[in-house]
């Protein structure tokens, strides 16, 4: 089961954790947000990015971003979300995390599997 820790200091405020696996959904099993060294309270958003297939109602699909989970973590605080709370969270496309303000002191660790 893959796991990755990254500081959320990307200029574009978005950090990619896993590219889309075409024939499966990504199912996060644990999310840890470490804001102990963060400069201020931060808002973290778990995002799902994909391009839908052509369908009857959408013959020209476009890249779609869906916010799946939003977490606010206090300055010098932590947030841990374990498997039990995440079991219904499914990512259809690319798993990425955005932050309201880029901050090298905010570190997110995500473990995930596939379904």
């Amino acid at each position: 089961m893959p796991s990755l820790a990254q500081a959320l200091d990307a200029i574009g405020l978005v950090t990619v954790f896993a590219a889309e696996k075409q024939n499966a959904k990504i199912v996060p099993s644990q999310i840890i947000v470490d804001n102990e060294a963060g400069a201020a309270q931060r808002v973290i958003t778990i995002q799902d990015v994909f391009t839908p297939a052509v369908s009857n109602g959408a013959p020209v699909p476009v890249v779609t971003t869906v916010n799946r989970l939003i977490i606010t973590v206090d300055n010098a605080g932590w947030a841990t979300i374990a498997a039990e709370a995440l079991k219904e969270l499914e990512i259809l496309g690319q798993l990425q995390v955005s932050i309201n303000v880029a901050d090298a002191g905010t570190i997110v660790t995500i473990s995930w599997g596939f379904k």
Binding site: A24, V54, L92
Partner: protein, 208 residues
Amino acid sequence: MIQFLPTPEATVGATMPKLLQKGFFVKFTDEWPETLPYVKGKFFRIARVNEVNQDLPYILPSNDYRDVDFSNQTGGVNLYPETTKTLYEVALGFKPGNYQVQFYIPAGEFVSRLEQAGMVPDVTVVTRKYLGAFKPADSPYDDKRILLYFVKDLEPLIARTFVDTGCDFEKCVLGVTVNKCYLEEMKTPTSEQLARSKELLYYSQLRW
């Protein structure tokens, strides 16, 4: 032909393989059309088989559908044979999700319908969107229970894949195992071989 294998309530005796194997017999009924003379009413022995897996994934919005064409025509997913000596036995299963599949062959002709006028599948009509629909639980990805039989130039089979309401988008993963069967015609099968054979019905026989 389309065959749905229901969940067994009990198993007694030796188990049989789900898919056709080398040495098995198949019999195409006389209802197969004149346009398919290489199989119409004929009897074959399976000379060899080869299983090929494929996944067909689609992310679709809620309350919307995509018609997945299994044939080799433009826009199809190319799961039909190209030679007259080959039968494709296709096992189809679904990964879990909030979606369902209804079959048409050819496009616009429902495989499943009831006798009352108008009782045909239609995902745009609330009272008929579940009519004749197969859900992921009916044929799980790891225990495929829907079997489809394709020969060269058979009319296109369409799997209307519909994402139900209650979610924003759904990833529909159709898992396919193509059991390629090489056919050897037997002009004069014995009664025992006929009794042991699998009868392959034409689609018009399923729509009675």
